[in-house]
Structure formats: structure tokens, C-alpha cells
Amino acid sequence: MSQYRIQGNTGEWEVVIGLEVHAQITSESKLFSGSSTGFGAEPNSHVSLVDAAMPGMLPVPNRECLRQAVRTGMAINAQINRWSRFDRKNYFYADLPQGYQISQLYHPIVGEGAIEVTLNEKDPDSPTKKIGIERIHVEQDAGKLMHDQHPTMSFVDLNRSGVALMEIVSRPDISSPQEAGAYLKKLRSILRYVGSCDGNMEQGSMRADVNVSVRKPGGELGTRTETKNVNSIRFMMQAIEYEAQRQVDLIESGGAVVQETRLFDPNRQETRSMRSKEDAHDYRYFPDPDLLPVELDDAFLEECRASLPELPDAKRARYEAMGLTAYNAAVLTAEAETAFWFEDLLAEGVDAKQGSNWLMSELFGALNKMGKTLDESPVNPKQAAELLSLVADGTISGSIAKQVFEIMLETAAQGNMMGAAAIVEEKGLKQTSDTGAIEAEIAKIMAANEDKVAEYRSGKDKLFGFFVGQTMKAMQGKANPQIINDLLKKALG
């Protein structure tokens, strides 16, 4: 898709990237215990004896977490494994009370799939590329460590301990920072459509481990490094850029890339070695003896499939079929929140074209000015539909609708939004189709502009716009434009 090359002293290098994305599964309770997954609670309050790994506690899997992983797999057309199993990944760290993470190494719940990405999801003509997904497995999150609260101690909060994660492992099919960004965006969009993860990277609901290596174009794969826990798309792209350049410089100056774990420092925009101990990666995986294999039956899979929403690519095609432009369809479907808002608008009976144009120009414009996202919109789809229906049935004109919308926003900002119909009523903005009143104004304007009438009649068609403008002005914008047109044509002959 993109020809990303690093220019070195010895020629061009290409970059090979694979991403392991950890996505927190949306659920009320944890993967193996009944503790809450709520964000921002008092430290160690969302912790059960299971999450704290007290002796004798047994894990019982949360059906919903498995269901969401399967639904996500279906959304990327992946193979769903009816038989999967949990393994223990053994290591010692203060945020891991069990001394092992319950994960799925040998038999993940979801196998091979793929997603199609485009460098610019809002441009329907932008080229696309298929990025393979090797697997999705389900595992536990660890607790949180705080290092700055005490001179000699780290503090441990186990609220996250045991929260369900999906690890979504891509194939090394990604070959530029831009493609990596596009992949992560598309993946996040799919997760939000499916509802399996909120995709909120700032809160850590989605983080990426970035595998990067470099090679001469078409050559043997180089040694890769893994940059851990990158928590924004921008940082991930910067980390890849830095890391690829670092590897090229290293190799060209006679060094060799060491397979290691690195950290990205957003302040210095560089990656650094984590200097982990040599045997840190000896996880001694083995099947967790506390858990039987996961066996999914037909009814379970059937429900997963039936509950899948329409996904971005399908939705986009449908919108285009409804008569929206390719651009509008692409913009409306790129993010789940936009698509869901638009769907709600349609459900209120708004015409698709009218609704999409209004959403993309008026509402997005207003939100942009206010610095708000669609989720924070002061106007909901029902209120928007009320406004749009007034335009659709000819009660107000498009330009009056803009005024009404502004008043809606102003009154919303004051804490008590007025509905569109109430505004039109109170301000007397109703468009008139009273032909008598319009004809009277037209007569006055023609009398005051006899010269222009003559010019028009002698063939200067462009003046028609002038008469429309004058009439609309005289009617204070409240006349039906179609009726003005018709009456003017008749009067001017």
C-alpha cells in the first residue's frame, strides 16, 4: 500500500511490523472472579480473594468475556476454535499475585483472520491492504504499580488484576508507521462496533506491543525488537519510526540488533532497552490444572453470530446503496460512534441524504468549534430529527434551520435547550407559503428596480438571482424559496 523506505548509507531498507494489541474486554465482572471491572475505584476495592490469589481460590471463567472474544473473532472473519484451553505463563512480578498469568498459548479461542485497512478511511479511493491476524486469545490483566508514592516502596493496586483482555496478534504484514496507524484505527473501530472493547487508549483499555525489524527490500527478515505498552496511535507511529531508524543506523555502523524488549519514551520520542534479565522470557507455560478446556457449542456460536452488528465495511456499502456519496458513507462509518448516531437519526425518520449532509456539515462544524466529540454533543438524534423534519416538510427553509440550530446550541449551553419547533414558534420563523404576501413584495421590488427588470427581460438571466435575494430579504428569510422562484418567474415573464 505505502512504499515506506528508510534511506541508509548502504541503500534502502524496508520495515517489517507486527502488532500485539491488548484490548480490555467490556464486561461487568472480571475474567475469573465476580469482582467489578469499574474504572477509577478506590485502590484494592475491586479485588476478591481470587484476584488476590489467596490459597485455595479457584478461577471460574466469565461467559461474557469468552463470548466477546468469539464475536470479535467473527467480526474479523477469523477461525473460531470450538476447543481452546488456558495455560499458565509463569513469572514473578509485584503486580501479579498469582505468580503466573492465566493466558492461552497453545490453543487460543480465535485463530486466523484478517482486516482490511486503508491509509485514509475517509477517502473512498484510498488504496486498501489486508493485514493478517494470527490469533486472538483471552488472558488476565495484571495489577497496577505506583512508584512515586514512597522513597523505598512501590505501591500495588490490584483493581485491574484479573480483568479480561483479548490479545490480538497481527501477522508481520505491516510495512510503515502509517499502515500501523491505519490498522490500529480500523481494529479499534471494529472493537467498538462489536462492543467488545471501548477502545479507550488513554484509560489503557487498548495498548499495543510493537514488533519492528528492518531488512533490505525483499531480503531475509531481520532481528526484531518489541516495544511494550504503547498507548496511543501517534506514539506507536513515532516509536516505529524511531526504532526502525535506530536499527538501520546500528546495522550500518557494524552492530547487530539484539532481540529485546524496549520502552517508548513519548517525551524524548525514543525507545529504550528495558535491560531485562536474561531469563525473563522463560515463562514455563503449561496447561492450567484449575481449568478445564473451553468447549463452545452450536447454540453459543449461533448467538455470537446473530448478535453481531453490521460492521463498518458492510455499513458503508449499504449507505452508498442508499444514495449517499462515497465520501459521506466513508466518514459516517469510520467511527462506530458516528455510525450509531446516524443510525439513530435515520430511526427517527430523517431522510438519509438530508441527515448525512446536516450531520457532516452543521453538527460536525458546531462540535468542532466547541471542541467536543459526537458523544458530548448537546443535541441528540431525536432533537436533531425534530429540526430536520421542519425543513423536510417546508415549515422552515435551510437557512432558517441554521439559525434555529444555533439557538438550540445557545440555549443548550445555558443549560436548558429549546426544541426546534418551540424556537420556530417563539421567534416566528415559520416560512410562509402565503403567495399573496410574496406577490405583494415582488411587485414592490419590481417597481423599485425597473431598470433591472428591463435588463432581465432583454436576456440578462443572471439577474434572476438578484430578484430572489431581494424577495427573500423582504420576506425576512421566511418565504418558501420554491414559491418565490415560481412567482418570480411568472411576474418577470
Binding site: S27, E28, S29, S33, G34, S35, S36, E42, P43, N44, S45, H46, V47, S48, L49, V50, D51, A52, V60, P61, N62, R63, E64, C65, L66, R85, N90, F92, Y93, A94, L145, M146, H147, Q149, H150, T152, M153, S154, F155, V156, D157, L158, M274, R275, D279, D282, R284, P287, L291, L292, P293, V294, E295
Partner: protein
């Protein structure tokens, strides 16, 4: 399959178990004895036999997604070697 002294020391380190040199020597013999004994299973031809995952025919039980537990901070922290407010305190682990 057998283990040597280096392997024994490595496993001990990974498991955070401190063993002396003499204990490691002793452990090599003991572990190799156990491994050799278990290795007898290798004499059985299991071609085409599915690995057994449980000794009793049983199905994995799943929970519904409801909050039924937690909110037991004092219990959870009761046995902590060092409690610091609402947190566990551990020796500083940052590099």
C-alpha cells in the same frame, strides 16, 4: 529427559527458591530419578490417542457476567507484609 546442575539452579532461580550448592547436587539426583520414573510412560504407544485433559468427564463451568464479589479490601490486605494505606507496599521494583 534429564537435568543437570545448571538447569536445577535455573529452575530454582525462576521459582525464587534459594538452594545451596549441596542442595542443588542432591536435587539433580532426585529430579533425574523422578524424570526417569515418569519416562516409563514413554513405553506406551499413544499414537492417535487424544491427550486427556481431566480424569473425570466434566465440562467447564462458566459464570454469568455479574458483580458478586470484591469490596473486601481489608480482608485482601490483612496478610500483606506491608500495608500502605489502601495499597500493598512492596520493595521498590522500578529499574
Amino acid at each position: 529427559m534429564s537435568v543437570d546442575k545448571d538447569t536445577v539452579n535455573k529452575i530454582a532461580r525462576l521459582s525464587r527458591i534459594a538452594i545451596s550448592d549441596a542442595e542443588a547436587d542432591k536435587m539433580v539426583g532426585e529430579l533425574n530419578g523422578i524424570l526417569a520414573w515418569v519416562e516409563q510412560l514413554g513405553e506406551v504407544d499413544v499414537t492417535g490417542v487424544e491427550p486427556m485433559t481431566a480424569v473425570i468427564p466434566n465440562k467447564l463451568r462458566l459464570r454469568e457476567d455479574v458483580v458478586t464479589d470484591g469490596d473486601v479490601r481489608d480482608k485482601v490486605l490483612a496478610n500483606a507484609p506491608a500495608r500502605e494505606g489502601s495499597f500493598f507496599g512492596v520493595p521498590k521494583v522500578i529499574e
